[in-house]
């Protein structure tokens, strides 16, 4: 097995075993989205109008939930040392770890979204649009979060610092994600532009995040 494939498989295994965050993220997402109708009240029109925003905020918070452990666990048990010393490109390792983390925690959120949209009385076209924006947008959240995880890896209790560092940078993704999904209800043609902007944001994050994260990890090595 190639080293990168082996790492991907291991990350997935760890995330579904005891102490892994795969199920936790989806459950948290479910709880957050369920709480909104209680706070807003039984106004179905209002709920369905707010639906995409609620789905996105829930996904954003659920993504941040497990990110602090992305590198911390490997640092604490010395695995990160071995990975850095192995001579394998740290940037590639970051990409693989982020990909595995998204598969285990981001993808389930996307899959859960259509079911949660029922709770919010969202119309079918808006649900599908939200699904599409979440699918291309959540990788950007994970990628941005990885930079924060790399920066806070050497700090004890860095888990609280991470959202503060990362959340401001996720605002553009949030804006265009909600804009694209909401636009569908009024004018299907208006979906395209914000949707392409999320794609652009994700691609930009994919280019920057591995380099920034690897630099942060190297810096925090000792």
């Amino acid at each position: 097995m190639s080293p990168l494939v082996a790492l991907y498989v291991r990350e997935l295994r760890l995330s579904v075993r005891i102490g892994g965050g795969a199920l936790m993220g989806v459950l948290f997402y479910l709880i957050v989205v369920t709480i909104f109708p209680f706070a807003i009240g039984p106004d179905l029109n209002l709920l369905s109008r707010l639906g995409p925003a609620i789905l996105w905020i829930g996904a954003l918070l659920a993504t941040l939930l497990g990110l602090d452990r992305l590198f911390e666990a490997d640092r604490d048990d010395g695995a990160l040392d071995l990975m850095v010393a192995s001579g394998q490109s740290l940037e590639l390792l970051v990409i693989v770890k982020v990909a595995a983390h998204w598969t285990a925690t981001g993808l389930p959120l996307v899959i859960a979204a259509p079911f949660l949209s029922l709770l919010l009385a969202m119309p079918v076209d808006v649900t599908l649009a939200s699904l599409a924006t979440l699918l291309v947008g959540t990788p950007a959240l994970t990628l941005l979060g990885a930079i924060g995880a790399g920066l806070t890896v050497s700090l004890r209790r860095g888990g609280l610092l991470l959202p503060i560092l990362v959340l401001p940078f996720t605002v553009p993704v949030l804006i265009f994600g909600v804009a694209a999904a909401t636009a569908v209800a009024f004018d299907p043609a208006a979906f395209r532009t914000p949707f392409l902007l999320i794609v652009a944001l994700t691609l930009t994050a994919a280019a920057i995040s591995p380099i920034a994260t690897a630099a942060a990890l190297r810096n925090g090595l000792d």
């Binding site: 990168l4 295994r13 102490g19 048990d77 071995l82 850095v84 192995s86 394998q88």
Partner: protein, 227 residues
């Protein structure tokens, strides 16, 4: 698609085949840690078949020295080179070395076998012992299917030591390798180290116990006088 430089030296070497001659050269190495110079102008050379035991009081920089040799953390001055015919970039020592640190890199949620199999896949399996054989060599063969969370500190250490033989690397950098080991396992480790030297491998080990290794040289780090 992804470029992975294979295992060090000859790719399809059987387990017991000797390593090609090489030497690790450390020149005027200085390392800072926390803004303080911990290692100052350390220099030595180890060739294949030789072992160096780094000794010295706590906090004198034994671990820092080994980390620097493995390529973890940038040295403030000096260089570490691995010289051999088949090594393209002598500065990349870590690629040809095993670093056995204080922490065992064992994931509690994975089984003993999965832990070792991952490192074998990640670091390159060519020329190393199969997972079963390596576990057997450290006395963990019966526990292969057990989650590593149930291992004792000594057993976790032995699992980390199994990595040394599951992945074939010419240079072993061992930081307090006998920590948490009982007398029998300690003897077992010394046996593995002697076998590694016999095959022409090199060892740099930090320890404050006397490891009964024939022909090992000592490098004593001394705390700098505070003026």
């Amino acid at each position: 698609m992804f470029y992975w430089e294979g295992p060090p030296f000859a790719p399809e070497t059987p387990v017991n085949q000797p390593f090609q001659p090489f030497s690790l050269v450390v020149e005027t190495l200085s390392v800072d840690r926390g803004g303080r110079r911990v290692i100052e102008d350390v220099g030595f050379e180890v060739a294949g078949g030789e072992a160096i035991l780094v000794t010295g009081p706590n906090g004198v920089g034994k671990s820092t020295l080994l980390r620097a040799l493995a390529g973890l953390g940038r040295p403030a001055k000096g260089a570490v080179r691995l010289l051999a015919d088949s090594v393209a970039d002598p500065e990349e020592v870590g690629r040809h070395a095993h670093y056995l640190g204080h922490r065992d890199a064992v994931k509690p949620a994975l089984t003993v076998g999965e832990n070792l199999a991952f490192w074998q896949d990640f670091l390159g399996a060519d020329g190393g012992e199969p997972v079963d054989t390596a576990l057997d060599a450290v006395g963990l063969a019966d526990l292969a299917a057990l989650p590593a969370a149930y291992l004792s500190a000594g057993q976790r250490r032995r699992l980390a030591i199994a990595r040394l033989i599951a992945v074939r690397r010419p240079l072993w950098l061992l930081d307090e390798p006998t920590a948490a080991l009982d007398v029998a396992s300690e003897a077992g480790l010394v046996g593995l180290m002697a076998g590694h030297l016999e095959r022409g491998g090199a060892i740099v080990a930090a320890t404050h116990l006397s490891i009964g290794l024939a022909g090992a040289r000592a490098l004593r780090l001394v705390a700098e006088e505070i003026a």
